[in-house]
Amino acid sequence: MAAPSIDALGQFSLTTGFGQFGRALHFTNSNEAMLAAAVIITGVFALGLQARALVPGRMQSLVELLYEFVRNMCVDTIGEEGLRFFPLVFTIFSFILLGNLIGLIPYFFAFTSHIAVTLALALFVFVFSTGVGFYTHGFRFFKFFVPSGVPGWLLPLLVPIEIISYLSRPVSLSVRLFANMTAGHVMWEVFAGFMLLLTASFGVLGVFAAIVPLGLNVALAALELLVAGLQAYVFAILTCLYLHDAVHMH
């Protein structure tokens, strides 16, 4: 059996990057992609802020577009108080967006496909928004788990449900992003593997048959581009929503 097997999950394997330095400090290949994302974001800002023109050029438009998009998201979702969290939301949004997009490039690592990464981000958002809730409302924040306008005898049932629903936020937040990115990359790899299998097994006929999974992968690329943007947006807007709950308690 010389036919290649499909290794759909090998792309997610962690190794160390940056040679000797990475091995010593456990700087992984996913951290390389994170660093690339951070450098690209900073670079886009540096380029966009070069002219500071009244009529913006392309890069400046891009930066302003991102800025106003996330700013409006914060203000619309959280309210005027949301501006305090704007840099945080922007950092998270741009980091995840760039991570998703970098992951789409062949041979680049998609760090958002790692549950450890997304769970860490989600837990940070969860702990932070809970902290904001207690900082803003003190112990009255516990009333968040007591739905208003509900008959008293229902509360023993509803309060645990509310608490479980609140505690499941980081799980859904992290799994959503992780699963979306993993699924897309696995499908890509599987279809690409099919192409190799077909060509290896059926010769010339297989080469022609391989056009089908190739076409699927092209379509999938468009879908993944959409998912990359959408999931970053979903993560950011849910972060805003949780912060809204923490600030307004309803």
Partner: protein, 188 residues
Amino acid sequence: MRRLSTATLLALAPSAAFADTMPQMNFHNPLTLDQVGWMAVILVVLYLLLSCWGLPQVGKVLDNRAAVIAADLAAARQAKKEADAAAAALNATIVQARAVAQAEVAKAVNGAKAKAAAEAAALAAALEVKLDAAEAQIATARAAAVAAIRPVAADVASTILLKLTGIQPAEDQLAPRLDAALAARKVA
């Protein structure tokens, strides 16, 4: 939806595809958690860069643009106000000029009318004088003519009487009858 598709994919994909467990779930590998530590470092640096430098700078650019646009709009509004005022002043001037011109025209017309009337009056007066003179002349001529009639009439009457009767009428007999005849013909 997408989460479901992962699940189905994981269930349906050939087992060969998952020779090993998912690397994402391999928490025995220290790198799995080490990447989170480095992510924290990278994110903190990125957050500081964005919150202290990038985002405020973009905000400043946007604020500056909004201020410039507002200032331009205010200037445009001011200019419009001034233009409106200028137009109003122009209209007022035009109206005033028209009134002045009309007054001037009326004055000229009245002056011409007065002058024409005066000339007509003077002409009429001159004509009146001439008329009076002519009438006086006529009256004189008439009086002279009338005065010339009586001796001729007396002469003719005495001549006729002499030829018819052979008697030279007496002057005092002839005179009253002559006067009566002349009065009857309204000559005297």
